[in-house]
Symmetry: C2
Subunit: 310 residues, 2 copies
Protein backbone atom coordinates (compact mmCIF):
# COMPACT_ATOMS: atom_id res chain seq x y z
CA UNK A 1 0.00 0.00 0.00
CA UNK A 2 1.18 3.49 -0.83
CA UNK A 3 0.83 6.16 1.84
CA UNK A 4 -1.64 8.98 0.98
CA UNK A 5 -0.45 10.74 -2.14
CA UNK A 6 0.16 14.13 -0.50
CA UNK A 7 2.94 12.76 1.66
CA UNK A 8 4.66 11.58 -1.49
CA UNK A 9 4.33 15.06 -2.88
CA UNK A 10 2.41 13.64 -5.82
CA UNK A 11 -0.76 15.67 -5.40
CA UNK A 12 -1.44 18.57 -7.72
CA UNK A 13 -1.53 22.11 -6.34
CA UNK A 14 -2.80 23.73 -9.55
CA UNK A 15 -5.41 21.98 -11.66
CA UNK A 16 -6.84 23.39 -14.87
CA UNK A 17 -10.15 22.21 -16.25
CA UNK A 18 -10.77 22.89 -19.94
CA UNK A 19 -14.45 22.51 -20.80
CA UNK A 20 -16.97 23.29 -18.06
CA UNK A 21 -19.93 21.08 -18.92
CA UNK A 22 -21.35 18.33 -16.72
CA UNK A 23 -18.05 16.50 -16.27
CA UNK A 24 -15.72 19.50 -16.19
CA UNK A 25 -17.83 21.34 -13.66
CA UNK A 26 -18.08 18.16 -11.56
CA UNK A 27 -14.28 17.85 -11.63
CA UNK A 28 -14.02 21.48 -10.46
CA UNK A 29 -16.54 20.90 -7.66
CA UNK A 30 -14.83 17.68 -6.63
CA UNK A 31 -11.32 19.17 -6.57
CA UNK A 32 -12.53 22.02 -4.40
CA UNK A 33 -14.32 19.60 -2.10
CA UNK A 34 -11.61 16.94 -1.88
CA UNK A 35 -8.36 18.87 -2.42
CA UNK A 36 -8.76 22.05 -0.36
CA UNK A 37 -5.20 23.15 -0.93
CA UNK A 38 -5.43 23.11 -4.72
CA UNK A 39 -6.45 25.96 -6.99
CA UNK A 40 -8.75 25.19 -9.93
CA UNK A 41 -8.54 27.30 -13.03
CA UNK A 42 -11.35 26.85 -15.55
CA UNK A 43 -11.83 27.63 -19.19
CA UNK A 44 -14.57 26.97 -21.70
CA UNK A 45 -14.60 27.95 -25.38
CA UNK A 46 -18.14 29.25 -24.94
CA UNK A 47 -18.15 32.75 -23.35
CA UNK A 48 -21.61 32.15 -21.92
CA UNK A 49 -20.42 29.05 -20.10
CA UNK A 50 -17.45 31.01 -18.77
CA UNK A 51 -19.82 33.72 -17.49
CA UNK A 52 -22.01 31.13 -15.75
CA UNK A 53 -18.96 29.45 -14.20
CA UNK A 54 -17.73 32.85 -13.05
CA UNK A 55 -21.06 33.74 -11.50
CA UNK A 56 -21.25 30.36 -9.77
CA UNK A 57 -17.71 30.70 -8.37
CA UNK A 58 -17.15 27.24 -9.78
CA UNK A 59 -13.37 27.71 -10.01
CA UNK A 60 -10.70 29.70 -8.22
CA UNK A 61 -10.40 31.55 -11.51
CA UNK A 62 -11.98 31.40 -14.97
CA UNK A 63 -9.44 32.34 -17.63
CA UNK A 64 -10.23 34.21 -20.83
CA UNK A 65 -8.22 31.94 -23.07
CA UNK A 66 -7.14 28.32 -23.09
CA UNK A 67 -3.51 29.38 -23.02
CA UNK A 68 -3.96 31.66 -19.99
CA UNK A 69 -5.78 28.85 -18.21
CA UNK A 70 -2.82 26.46 -18.33
CA UNK A 71 0.05 28.85 -17.85
CA UNK A 72 1.01 27.53 -14.39
CA UNK A 73 -0.92 24.25 -14.42
CA UNK A 74 0.45 21.05 -12.92
CA UNK A 75 -2.46 19.02 -14.23
CA UNK A 76 -4.70 19.87 -17.17
CA UNK A 77 -7.98 17.95 -17.42
CA UNK A 78 -9.55 18.20 -20.86
CA UNK A 79 -13.33 17.87 -20.47
CA UNK A 80 -14.50 18.61 -24.01
CA UNK A 81 -16.35 16.30 -26.43
CA UNK A 82 -13.97 13.68 -27.81
CA UNK A 83 -14.09 15.21 -31.28
CA UNK A 84 -12.79 18.48 -29.85
CA UNK A 85 -9.86 17.02 -27.89
CA UNK A 86 -7.33 17.66 -30.67
CA UNK A 87 -8.18 21.33 -31.04
CA UNK A 88 -8.45 21.85 -27.28
CA UNK A 89 -4.95 20.37 -26.95
CA UNK A 90 -3.61 22.51 -29.78
CA UNK A 91 -5.00 25.62 -28.06
CA UNK A 92 -2.95 25.01 -24.90
CA UNK A 93 0.27 23.76 -26.53
CA UNK A 94 2.23 26.99 -26.52
CA UNK A 95 1.45 27.89 -22.93
CA UNK A 96 1.69 24.50 -21.27
CA UNK A 97 4.48 24.23 -18.66
CA UNK A 98 7.00 21.54 -19.61
CA UNK A 99 6.36 19.48 -16.50
CA UNK A 100 2.55 19.61 -16.70
CA UNK A 101 0.57 16.39 -17.11
CA UNK A 102 -2.37 16.38 -19.50
CA UNK A 103 -5.31 14.07 -18.91
CA UNK A 104 -8.86 13.99 -20.21
CA UNK A 105 -12.26 12.48 -19.44
CA UNK A 106 -13.30 11.32 -22.91
CA UNK A 107 -15.48 8.25 -23.45
CA UNK A 108 -13.23 6.91 -26.25
CA UNK A 109 -9.57 6.40 -25.53
CA UNK A 110 -7.70 5.23 -28.65
CA UNK A 111 -8.83 8.17 -30.78
CA UNK A 112 -8.26 10.67 -27.97
CA UNK A 113 -4.78 9.35 -27.23
CA UNK A 114 -3.93 9.70 -30.92
CA UNK A 115 -5.33 13.24 -31.09
CA UNK A 116 -3.52 14.38 -27.93
CA UNK A 117 -0.22 12.77 -28.88
CA UNK A 118 -0.44 14.45 -32.24
CA UNK A 119 -1.28 17.89 -30.83
CA UNK A 120 1.10 17.78 -27.85
CA UNK A 121 4.43 16.22 -28.87
CA UNK A 122 6.73 15.63 -25.91
CA UNK A 123 4.01 16.24 -23.32
CA UNK A 124 3.16 13.70 -20.59
CA UNK A 125 -0.29 12.48 -21.59
CA UNK A 126 -2.23 10.10 -19.34
CA UNK A 127 -5.78 9.74 -20.69
CA UNK A 128 -8.58 8.68 -18.36
CA UNK A 129 -12.30 8.03 -18.44
CA UNK A 130 -14.43 8.39 -15.34
CA UNK A 131 -17.43 6.12 -16.01
CA UNK A 132 -19.96 8.48 -14.50
CA UNK A 133 -22.44 11.02 -15.69
CA UNK A 134 -26.07 11.99 -15.82
CA UNK A 135 -28.38 12.98 -18.66
CA UNK A 136 -27.91 16.67 -17.80
CA UNK A 137 -25.47 19.00 -19.55
CA UNK A 138 -23.77 22.30 -18.85
CA UNK A 139 -21.86 23.96 -15.98
CA UNK A 140 -24.87 23.94 -13.67
CA UNK A 141 -25.32 20.17 -13.99
CA UNK A 142 -22.10 19.24 -12.20
CA UNK A 143 -21.75 18.15 -8.59
CA UNK A 144 -18.86 17.08 -6.38
CA UNK A 145 -19.98 13.51 -5.71
CA UNK A 146 -20.43 12.49 -9.35
CA UNK A 147 -17.35 10.27 -9.29
CA UNK A 148 -17.93 8.83 -5.86
CA UNK A 149 -17.61 5.01 -5.98
CA UNK A 150 -17.65 5.06 -9.78
CA UNK A 151 -14.82 3.55 -11.81
CA UNK A 152 -12.26 5.71 -13.52
CA UNK A 153 -10.37 3.88 -16.27
CA UNK A 154 -6.87 5.24 -16.81
CA UNK A 155 -5.41 4.31 -20.21
CA UNK A 156 -1.75 5.27 -20.33
CA UNK A 157 0.10 4.95 -23.64
CA UNK A 158 2.84 2.33 -23.97
CA UNK A 159 5.93 3.42 -22.10
CA UNK A 160 4.21 6.12 -20.05
CA UNK A 161 6.00 7.34 -16.92
CA UNK A 162 4.79 5.20 -13.96
CA UNK A 163 4.98 8.19 -11.62
CA UNK A 164 2.71 10.21 -13.90
CA UNK A 165 0.29 7.27 -14.14
CA UNK A 166 0.19 7.02 -10.35
CA UNK A 167 -0.28 10.77 -9.90
CA UNK A 168 -3.26 10.81 -12.27
CA UNK A 169 -4.66 7.67 -10.63
CA UNK A 170 -4.28 9.23 -7.20
CA UNK A 171 -6.02 12.37 -8.44
CA UNK A 172 -9.09 10.34 -9.43
CA UNK A 173 -9.04 8.42 -6.18
CA UNK A 174 -9.04 11.75 -4.33
CA UNK A 175 -12.17 12.66 -6.29
CA UNK A 176 -13.83 9.50 -4.96
CA UNK A 177 -13.34 7.15 -7.90
CA UNK A 178 -11.89 3.66 -7.99
CA UNK A 179 -9.15 3.44 -10.58
CA UNK A 180 -8.44 0.67 -13.09
CA UNK A 181 -5.70 0.66 -15.70
CA UNK A 182 -6.56 -0.57 -19.19
CA UNK A 183 -5.17 -0.50 -22.71
CA UNK A 184 -6.97 2.14 -24.82
CA UNK A 185 -8.24 -0.37 -27.41
CA UNK A 186 -9.63 -2.67 -24.79
CA UNK A 187 -11.29 0.26 -23.05
CA UNK A 188 -13.01 1.16 -26.29
CA UNK A 189 -14.43 -2.33 -26.72
CA UNK A 190 -15.63 -2.52 -23.12
CA UNK A 191 -17.30 0.86 -23.31
CA UNK A 192 -18.80 0.09 -26.71
CA UNK A 193 -20.97 -2.49 -24.98
CA UNK A 194 -21.49 -0.95 -21.53
CA UNK A 195 -22.15 2.57 -22.69
CA UNK A 196 -22.05 3.38 -26.40
CA UNK A 197 -24.39 0.67 -27.69
CA UNK A 198 -26.95 1.33 -24.90
CA UNK A 199 -27.00 5.01 -25.82
CA UNK A 200 -27.38 4.29 -29.53
CA UNK A 201 -30.26 1.92 -28.88
CA UNK A 202 -31.95 4.34 -26.52
CA UNK A 203 -31.67 7.16 -29.03
CA UNK A 204 -33.07 4.85 -31.71
CA UNK A 205 -36.11 3.61 -29.83
CA UNK A 206 -37.05 7.09 -28.66
CA UNK A 207 -36.85 8.19 -32.29
CA UNK A 208 -38.87 5.21 -33.49
CA UNK A 209 -41.58 5.93 -30.94
CA UNK A 210 -41.74 9.57 -31.99
CA UNK A 211 -42.35 8.69 -35.63
CA UNK A 212 -45.39 6.44 -35.37
CA UNK A 213 -48.57 7.41 -37.14
CA UNK A 214 -51.17 5.28 -35.40
CA UNK A 215 -49.81 5.75 -31.90
CA UNK A 216 -49.58 9.43 -31.01
CA UNK A 217 -46.67 11.13 -29.32
CA UNK A 218 -48.92 11.94 -26.38
CA UNK A 219 -49.84 8.27 -25.96
CA UNK A 220 -46.17 7.32 -25.99
CA UNK A 221 -45.50 9.82 -23.21
CA UNK A 222 -48.59 8.97 -21.21
CA UNK A 223 -47.92 5.24 -21.07
CA UNK A 224 -44.14 5.42 -20.89
CA UNK A 225 -44.06 3.87 -17.40
CA UNK A 226 -44.36 0.46 -19.06
CA UNK A 227 -40.62 0.54 -19.77
CA UNK A 228 -40.06 3.18 -22.43
CA UNK A 229 -39.29 5.96 -19.95
CA UNK A 230 -36.13 4.13 -18.82
CA UNK A 231 -34.69 4.64 -22.31
CA UNK A 232 -35.61 8.30 -22.53
CA UNK A 233 -33.21 9.19 -19.73
CA UNK A 234 -30.06 8.30 -21.60
CA UNK A 235 -31.58 9.48 -24.88
CA UNK A 236 -31.64 12.94 -23.28
CA UNK A 237 -27.84 13.02 -23.04
CA UNK A 238 -25.73 15.64 -24.76
CA UNK A 239 -26.00 15.28 -28.58
CA UNK A 240 -22.57 16.72 -29.36
CA UNK A 241 -20.81 14.45 -26.93
CA UNK A 242 -22.57 11.40 -28.31
CA UNK A 243 -22.15 12.27 -31.97
CA UNK A 244 -18.41 12.42 -31.29
CA UNK A 245 -18.38 9.16 -29.33
CA UNK A 246 -19.95 7.20 -32.18
CA UNK A 247 -17.67 8.71 -34.79
CA UNK A 248 -14.58 8.21 -32.61
CA UNK A 249 -15.29 4.63 -31.56
CA UNK A 250 -16.79 3.59 -34.87
CA UNK A 251 -15.27 0.13 -35.32
CA UNK A 252 -16.05 -1.17 -31.84
CA UNK A 253 -19.57 0.29 -31.89
CA UNK A 254 -20.33 -1.19 -35.31
CA UNK A 255 -19.12 -4.58 -34.17
CA UNK A 256 -21.26 -4.56 -31.02
CA UNK A 257 -24.20 -3.32 -33.06
CA UNK A 258 -23.79 -6.22 -35.45
CA UNK A 259 -23.87 -8.70 -32.57
CA UNK A 260 -26.86 -6.98 -31.04
CA UNK A 261 -28.75 -7.06 -34.35
CA UNK A 262 -28.09 -10.77 -34.75
CA UNK A 263 -29.33 -11.46 -31.24
CA UNK A 264 -32.40 -9.31 -31.81
CA UNK A 265 -33.16 -11.16 -35.04
CA UNK A 266 -32.98 -14.43 -33.17
CA UNK A 267 -35.54 -13.27 -30.60
CA UNK A 268 -37.67 -11.82 -33.39
CA UNK A 269 -37.69 -15.20 -35.06
CA UNK A 270 -38.55 -16.90 -31.76
CA UNK A 271 -41.56 -14.60 -31.40
CA UNK A 272 -42.68 -15.15 -34.99
CA UNK A 273 -42.50 -18.93 -34.64
CA UNK A 274 -43.95 -19.13 -31.11
CA UNK A 275 -40.80 -20.50 -29.54
CA UNK A 276 -41.82 -19.81 -25.95
CA UNK A 277 -39.10 -21.92 -24.35
CA UNK A 278 -36.38 -20.07 -26.19
CA UNK A 279 -37.81 -16.72 -25.06
CA UNK A 280 -38.16 -17.95 -21.50
CA UNK A 281 -34.53 -19.11 -21.39
CA UNK A 282 -33.26 -15.86 -22.87
CA UNK A 283 -35.25 -13.81 -20.35
CA UNK A 284 -34.11 -15.91 -17.42
CA UNK A 285 -30.38 -15.59 -17.78
CA UNK A 286 -30.51 -11.79 -17.97
CA UNK A 287 -31.74 -11.58 -14.37
CA UNK A 288 -28.36 -12.73 -13.05
CA UNK A 289 -26.62 -9.75 -14.64
CA UNK A 290 -28.84 -7.31 -12.80
CA UNK A 291 -28.17 -9.13 -9.54
CA UNK A 292 -24.39 -8.86 -10.01
CA UNK A 293 -24.58 -5.15 -10.81
CA UNK A 294 -26.46 -4.51 -7.59
CA UNK A 295 -24.17 -6.75 -5.55
CA UNK A 296 -21.18 -4.80 -6.82
CA UNK A 297 -22.72 -1.47 -5.86
CA UNK A 298 -23.03 -0.27 -9.45
CA UNK A 299 -26.76 0.42 -9.24
CA UNK A 300 -29.54 1.20 -6.85
CA UNK A 301 -31.15 -1.97 -5.48
CA UNK A 302 -34.51 -0.36 -4.90
CA UNK A 303 -37.18 -1.59 -7.32
CA UNK A 304 -37.99 0.77 -10.18
CA UNK A 305 -34.80 2.74 -9.38
CA UNK A 306 -36.55 3.87 -6.20
CA UNK A 307 -39.05 5.92 -8.18
CA UNK A 308 -42.05 4.57 -6.31
CA UNK A 309 -41.44 5.71 -2.78
CA UNK A 310 -42.70 2.92 -0.60
CA UNK B 1 -68.27 15.04 -12.13
CA UNK B 2 -69.66 11.91 -10.55
CA UNK B 3 -69.89 11.77 -6.77
CA UNK B 4 -67.54 9.23 -5.12
CA UNK B 5 -68.43 5.77 -6.31
CA UNK B 6 -69.53 4.46 -2.91
CA UNK B 7 -72.46 6.82 -2.76
CA UNK B 8 -73.64 5.39 -6.07
CA UNK B 9 -73.41 1.92 -4.60
CA UNK B 10 -71.03 0.91 -7.37
CA UNK B 11 -68.10 -0.08 -5.16
CA UNK B 12 -67.25 -3.73 -4.67
CA UNK B 13 -67.61 -5.27 -1.21
CA UNK B 14 -65.93 -8.57 -2.12
CA UNK B 15 -62.93 -8.61 -4.42
CA UNK B 16 -61.10 -11.78 -5.45
CA UNK B 17 -57.54 -11.67 -6.74
CA UNK B 18 -56.40 -14.68 -8.75
CA UNK B 19 -52.60 -14.75 -9.04
CA UNK B 20 -50.61 -13.23 -6.17
CA UNK B 21 -47.43 -12.06 -7.86
CA UNK B 22 -46.19 -8.46 -8.01
CA UNK B 23 -49.40 -7.06 -9.50
CA UNK B 24 -51.90 -9.32 -7.72
CA UNK B 25 -50.33 -8.71 -4.31
CA UNK B 26 -50.23 -4.97 -5.04
CA UNK B 27 -53.94 -5.05 -5.90
CA UNK B 28 -54.59 -6.85 -2.59
CA UNK B 29 -52.53 -4.31 -0.64
CA UNK B 30 -54.17 -1.40 -2.43
CA UNK B 31 -57.73 -2.68 -1.91
CA UNK B 32 -57.06 -3.11 1.79
CA UNK B 33 -55.52 0.35 1.99
CA UNK B 34 -58.05 2.21 -0.15
CA UNK B 35 -61.29 0.24 0.32
CA UNK B 36 -61.39 -0.55 4.03
CA UNK B 37 -64.93 -1.98 3.86
CA UNK B 38 -64.07 -4.59 1.23
CA UNK B 39 -62.88 -8.15 1.77
CA UNK B 40 -60.10 -9.48 -0.46
CA UNK B 41 -59.94 -13.16 -1.20
CA UNK B 42 -56.76 -14.40 -2.82
CA UNK B 43 -55.77 -17.47 -4.74
CA UNK B 44 -52.63 -18.58 -6.54
CA UNK B 45 -52.09 -21.82 -8.43
CA UNK B 46 -48.74 -22.21 -6.65
CA UNK B 47 -49.21 -23.59 -3.10
CA UNK B 48 -45.96 -21.93 -1.97
CA UNK B 49 -47.23 -18.53 -3.05
CA UNK B 50 -50.50 -19.20 -1.22
CA UNK B 51 -48.54 -20.07 1.93
CA UNK B 52 -46.49 -16.87 1.68
CA UNK B 53 -49.64 -14.79 1.13
CA UNK B 54 -51.26 -16.49 4.10
CA UNK B 55 -48.25 -15.83 6.33
CA UNK B 56 -48.13 -12.20 5.21
CA UNK B 57 -51.85 -11.70 5.86
CA UNK B 58 -51.97 -10.26 2.39
CA UNK B 59 -55.70 -11.00 1.96
CA UNK B 60 -58.74 -11.36 4.20
CA UNK B 61 -58.63 -14.98 3.14
CA UNK B 62 -56.52 -17.19 0.87
CA UNK B 63 -58.64 -19.90 -0.74
CA UNK B 64 -57.49 -23.42 -1.55
CA UNK B 65 -58.97 -23.48 -5.01
CA UNK B 66 -59.81 -20.98 -7.70
CA UNK B 67 -63.48 -21.94 -7.46
CA UNK B 68 -63.62 -21.42 -3.71
CA UNK B 69 -61.94 -18.05 -4.13
CA UNK B 70 -64.69 -16.63 -6.35
CA UNK B 71 -67.76 -18.20 -4.78
CA UNK B 72 -69.16 -14.91 -3.44
CA UNK B 73 -67.05 -12.46 -5.45
CA UNK B 74 -68.45 -9.25 -6.85
CA UNK B 75 -65.24 -8.50 -8.74
CA UNK B 76 -62.62 -11.01 -9.85
CA UNK B 77 -59.24 -9.59 -10.85
CA UNK B 78 -57.16 -12.07 -12.85
CA UNK B 79 -53.48 -11.30 -12.21
CA UNK B 80 -51.80 -14.22 -14.00
CA UNK B 81 -49.45 -14.14 -17.01
CA UNK B 82 -51.43 -13.38 -20.18
CA UNK B 83 -50.86 -16.89 -21.52
CA UNK B 84 -52.56 -18.32 -18.42
CA UNK B 85 -55.67 -16.11 -18.54
CA UNK B 86 -57.77 -18.66 -20.42
CA UNK B 87 -57.09 -21.50 -17.99
CA UNK B 88 -57.46 -19.21 -14.95
CA UNK B 89 -60.86 -18.17 -16.29
CA UNK B 90 -61.88 -21.76 -16.98
CA UNK B 91 -60.95 -22.66 -13.40
CA UNK B 92 -63.46 -20.17 -11.93
CA UNK B 93 -66.26 -20.64 -14.45
CA UNK B 94 -68.40 -23.08 -12.47
CA UNK B 95 -68.28 -21.15 -9.21
CA UNK B 96 -68.55 -17.59 -10.45
CA UNK B 97 -71.71 -15.77 -9.25
CA UNK B 98 -73.89 -14.71 -12.19
CA UNK B 99 -73.61 -11.00 -11.35
CA UNK B 100 -69.82 -10.97 -10.82
CA UNK B 101 -67.63 -8.84 -13.04
CA UNK B 102 -64.34 -10.31 -14.26
CA UNK B 103 -61.41 -8.06 -15.02
CA UNK B 104 -57.68 -8.67 -15.44
CA UNK B 105 -54.36 -6.81 -15.43
CA UNK B 106 -52.72 -8.33 -18.51
CA UNK B 107 -50.30 -6.38 -20.68
CA UNK B 108 -52.00 -7.52 -23.92
CA UNK B 109 -55.67 -6.90 -24.35
CA UNK B 110 -56.96 -8.37 -27.63
CA UNK B 111 -55.69 -11.88 -26.89
CA UNK B 112 -56.85 -11.74 -23.26
CA UNK B 113 -60.31 -10.53 -24.22
CA UNK B 114 -60.60 -13.41 -26.68
CA UNK B 115 -59.40 -15.95 -24.10
CA UNK B 116 -61.74 -14.68 -21.39
CA UNK B 117 -64.76 -14.41 -23.69
CA UNK B 118 -64.13 -17.94 -24.81
CA UNK B 119 -63.73 -19.35 -21.31
CA UNK B 120 -66.54 -17.37 -19.67
CA UNK B 121 -69.56 -17.19 -21.98
CA UNK B 122 -72.26 -14.85 -20.70
CA UNK B 123 -70.02 -13.30 -18.02
CA UNK B 124 -69.48 -9.54 -17.77
CA UNK B 125 -65.82 -9.11 -18.77
CA UNK B 126 -64.12 -5.71 -18.56
CA UNK B 127 -60.38 -6.16 -19.20
CA UNK B 128 -57.93 -3.60 -17.89
CA UNK B 129 -54.20 -2.94 -17.82
CA UNK B 130 -52.61 -0.87 -15.06
CA UNK B 131 -49.42 0.48 -16.66
CA UNK B 132 -47.31 0.01 -13.55
CA UNK B 133 -44.82 -2.46 -12.22
CA UNK B 134 -41.30 -3.01 -11.07
CA UNK B 135 -38.65 -5.55 -11.99
CA UNK B 136 -39.47 -7.61 -8.89
CA UNK B 137 -41.74 -10.66 -8.90
CA UNK B 138 -43.73 -12.62 -6.36
CA UNK B 139 -46.16 -11.94 -3.49
CA UNK B 140 -43.56 -10.10 -1.41
CA UNK B 141 -42.82 -7.61 -4.20
CA UNK B 142 -46.23 -5.92 -4.10
CA UNK B 143 -47.09 -2.64 -2.40
CA UNK B 144 -50.21 -0.54 -2.04
CA UNK B 145 -49.01 2.55 -3.89
CA UNK B 146 -47.91 0.77 -7.08
CA UNK B 147 -50.83 2.18 -9.08
CA UNK B 148 -50.71 5.65 -7.59
CA UNK B 149 -50.77 8.26 -10.38
CA UNK B 150 -50.11 5.58 -13.01
CA UNK B 151 -52.49 5.06 -15.90
CA UNK B 152 -54.87 2.15 -16.01
CA UNK B 153 -56.19 1.41 -19.49
CA UNK B 154 -59.64 -0.17 -19.47
CA UNK B 155 -60.47 -1.98 -22.72
CA UNK B 156 -64.14 -2.99 -22.70
CA UNK B 157 -65.41 -5.19 -25.51
CA UNK B 158 -67.90 -3.75 -27.99
CA UNK B 159 -71.31 -3.44 -26.41
CA UNK B 160 -70.10 -3.81 -22.82
CA UNK B 161 -72.45 -2.61 -20.07
CA UNK B 162 -71.58 1.06 -19.32
CA UNK B 163 -72.33 0.55 -15.62
CA UNK B 164 -69.84 -2.33 -15.44
CA UNK B 165 -67.25 -0.24 -17.29
CA UNK B 166 -67.73 2.58 -14.81
CA UNK B 167 -67.56 0.25 -11.81
CA UNK B 168 -64.25 -1.23 -12.97
CA UNK B 169 -62.93 2.25 -13.79
CA UNK B 170 -63.98 3.51 -10.37
CA UNK B 171 -62.22 0.52 -8.78
CA UNK B 172 -58.92 1.50 -10.39
CA UNK B 173 -59.38 5.12 -9.48
CA UNK B 174 -59.87 4.04 -5.87
CA UNK B 175 -56.54 2.24 -6.12
CA UNK B 176 -54.93 5.52 -7.13
CA UNK B 177 -54.78 5.12 -10.91
CA UNK B 178 -55.99 7.43 -13.62
CA UNK B 179 -58.25 5.61 -16.02
CA UNK B 180 -58.40 5.79 -19.79
CA UNK B 181 -60.70 3.78 -22.06
CA UNK B 182 -59.21 2.30 -25.22
CA UNK B 183 -60.03 -0.31 -27.86
CA UNK B 184 -58.09 -3.54 -27.21
CA UNK B 185 -56.28 -3.47 -30.57
CA UNK B 186 -55.17 0.10 -30.13
CA UNK B 187 -53.99 -0.67 -26.61
CA UNK B 188 -51.84 -3.45 -27.99
CA UNK B 189 -50.16 -1.17 -30.52
CA UNK B 190 -49.53 1.56 -27.94
CA UNK B 191 -48.04 -0.87 -25.44
CA UNK B 192 -45.99 -2.60 -28.12
CA UNK B 193 -43.98 0.60 -28.37
CA UNK B 194 -44.10 1.95 -24.82
CA UNK B 195 -43.47 -1.34 -23.06
CA UNK B 196 -43.05 -4.51 -25.10
CA UNK B 197 -40.37 -3.31 -27.54
CA UNK B 198 -38.33 -1.68 -24.73
CA UNK B 199 -38.36 -4.94 -22.79
CA UNK B 200 -37.36 -6.99 -25.83
CA UNK B 201 -34.47 -4.65 -26.57
CA UNK B 202 -33.34 -4.63 -22.96
CA UNK B 203 -33.40 -8.42 -22.80
CA UNK B 204 -31.45 -8.55 -26.06
CA UNK B 205 -28.68 -6.16 -25.13
CA UNK B 206 -28.15 -7.76 -21.74
CA UNK B 207 -27.86 -11.09 -23.54
CA UNK B 208 -25.47 -9.66 -26.15
CA UNK B 209 -23.26 -8.22 -23.43
CA UNK B 210 -23.17 -11.55 -21.61
CA UNK B 211 -21.96 -13.43 -24.67
CA UNK B 212 -18.86 -11.44 -25.57
CA UNK B 213 -15.51 -13.16 -25.67
CA UNK B 214 -13.07 -10.26 -25.50
CA UNK B 215 -15.00 -8.26 -22.95
CA UNK B 216 -15.62 -10.27 -19.80
CA UNK B 217 -18.87 -10.50 -17.89
CA UNK B 218 -17.15 -8.89 -14.91
CA UNK B 219 -16.07 -5.91 -17.02
CA UNK B 220 -19.61 -5.49 -18.27
CA UNK B 221 -20.88 -5.38 -14.70
CA UNK B 222 -18.10 -3.17 -13.40
CA UNK B 223 -18.52 -0.46 -16.02
CA UNK B 224 -22.29 -0.70 -16.34
CA UNK B 225 -22.81 2.84 -15.00
CA UNK B 226 -22.03 4.13 -18.50
CA UNK B 227 -25.61 3.35 -19.54
CA UNK B 228 -25.92 -0.42 -19.63
CA UNK B 229 -27.26 -0.74 -16.08
CA UNK B 230 -30.42 1.16 -17.06
CA UNK B 231 -31.32 -1.73 -19.37
CA UNK B 232 -30.62 -4.43 -16.83
CA UNK B 233 -33.46 -3.26 -14.63
CA UNK B 234 -36.22 -4.13 -17.06
CA UNK B 235 -34.29 -7.17 -18.29
CA UNK B 236 -34.70 -8.50 -14.74
CA UNK B 237 -38.49 -8.65 -15.13
CA UNK B 238 -40.47 -11.88 -14.83
CA UNK B 239 -39.57 -14.25 -17.71
CA UNK B 240 -42.91 -16.07 -17.79
CA UNK B 241 -44.88 -12.86 -17.96
CA UNK B 242 -42.75 -11.53 -20.78
CA UNK B 243 -42.63 -14.74 -22.79
CA UNK B 244 -46.44 -14.62 -22.79
CA UNK B 245 -46.57 -10.93 -23.69
CA UNK B 246 -44.46 -11.41 -26.81
CA UNK B 247 -46.38 -14.46 -27.96
CA UNK B 248 -49.73 -12.78 -27.25
CA UNK B 249 -49.00 -9.45 -28.91
CA UNK B 250 -46.91 -10.90 -31.71
CA UNK B 251 -48.14 -8.84 -34.67
CA UNK B 252 -47.81 -5.44 -33.02
CA UNK B 253 -44.43 -6.29 -31.49
CA UNK B 254 -43.04 -7.55 -34.79
CA UNK B 255 -44.22 -4.43 -36.55
CA UNK B 256 -42.60 -2.12 -33.99
CA UNK B 257 -39.46 -4.21 -34.10
CA UNK B 258 -39.31 -3.83 -37.85
CA UNK B 259 -39.52 -0.06 -37.57
CA UNK B 260 -36.91 -0.02 -34.82
CA UNK B 261 -34.52 -2.15 -36.88
CA UNK B 262 -34.89 0.17 -39.87
CA UNK B 263 -34.16 3.20 -37.70
CA UNK B 264 -31.18 1.46 -36.12
CA UNK B 265 -29.79 0.58 -39.54
CA UNK B 266 -30.08 4.21 -40.54
CA UNK B 267 -28.02 5.33 -37.53
CA UNK B 268 -25.58 2.48 -38.13
CA UNK B 269 -25.08 3.73 -41.66
CA UNK B 270 -24.63 7.31 -40.40
CA UNK B 271 -21.88 6.10 -38.08
CA UNK B 272 -20.19 4.06 -40.79
CA UNK B 273 -20.17 6.99 -43.20
CA UNK B 274 -19.26 9.68 -40.66
CA UNK B 275 -22.54 11.56 -41.00
CA UNK B 276 -22.13 13.63 -37.86
CA UNK B 277 -24.92 16.10 -38.65
CA UNK B 278 -27.43 13.31 -39.07
CA UNK B 279 -26.42 11.80 -35.72
CA UNK B 280 -26.58 15.19 -34.01
CA UNK B 281 -30.08 15.85 -35.34
CA UNK B 282 -31.30 12.40 -34.30
CA UNK B 283 -29.88 12.84 -30.80
CA UNK B 284 -31.32 16.32 -30.39
CA UNK B 285 -34.98 15.59 -31.03
CA UNK B 286 -35.08 12.77 -28.48
CA UNK B 287 -34.45 15.19 -25.62
CA UNK B 288 -37.89 16.72 -26.04
CA UNK B 289 -39.57 13.38 -25.36
CA UNK B 290 -37.83 13.07 -21.99
CA UNK B 291 -38.90 16.60 -21.12
CA UNK B 292 -42.55 15.82 -21.85
CA UNK B 293 -42.48 12.63 -19.78
CA UNK B 294 -41.17 14.56 -16.79
CA UNK B 295 -43.62 17.43 -17.30
CA UNK B 296 -46.48 14.96 -17.29
CA UNK B 297 -45.33 13.35 -14.05
CA UNK B 298 -44.53 9.99 -15.67
CA UNK B 299 -40.95 9.90 -14.44
CA UNK B 300 -38.61 11.19 -11.80
CA UNK B 301 -37.05 14.51 -12.82
CA UNK B 302 -33.92 13.98 -10.74
CA UNK B 303 -30.83 13.33 -12.87
CA UNK B 304 -29.75 9.71 -13.10
CA UNK B 305 -33.15 8.65 -11.68
CA UNK B 306 -31.99 10.18 -8.40
CA UNK B 307 -29.34 7.53 -7.93
CA UNK B 308 -26.60 9.99 -7.10
CA UNK B 309 -27.81 11.61 -3.91
CA UNK B 310 -26.66 15.18 -4.20
Amino acid sequence: MLPPSTTLGTSFARVTVIGLGLIGSSVAHAVRAQMPGATVTGYDADPEVRAVAQAMHLCSDVADSAGAAVIDAELVVLCVPVGAMGSAAAAIRDDLPAEAIVTDVGSCKASVLAALTDALPGVTIIPAHPVAGTERSGPEAGFASLFHKRWCIVTPPDGADPVAIERVSAFWRRLGAEVELMAPDHHDRVLAVTSHLPHLIAYTIVGTASDLEEVTRSEVIKYSAGGFRDFTRIAASDPTMWRDVFLSNKEAVLEMLQRFSEDLSELQRAIRWDKGDQLFDAFTRTRAVRRSIIEQGQDDARPDFGRSDH
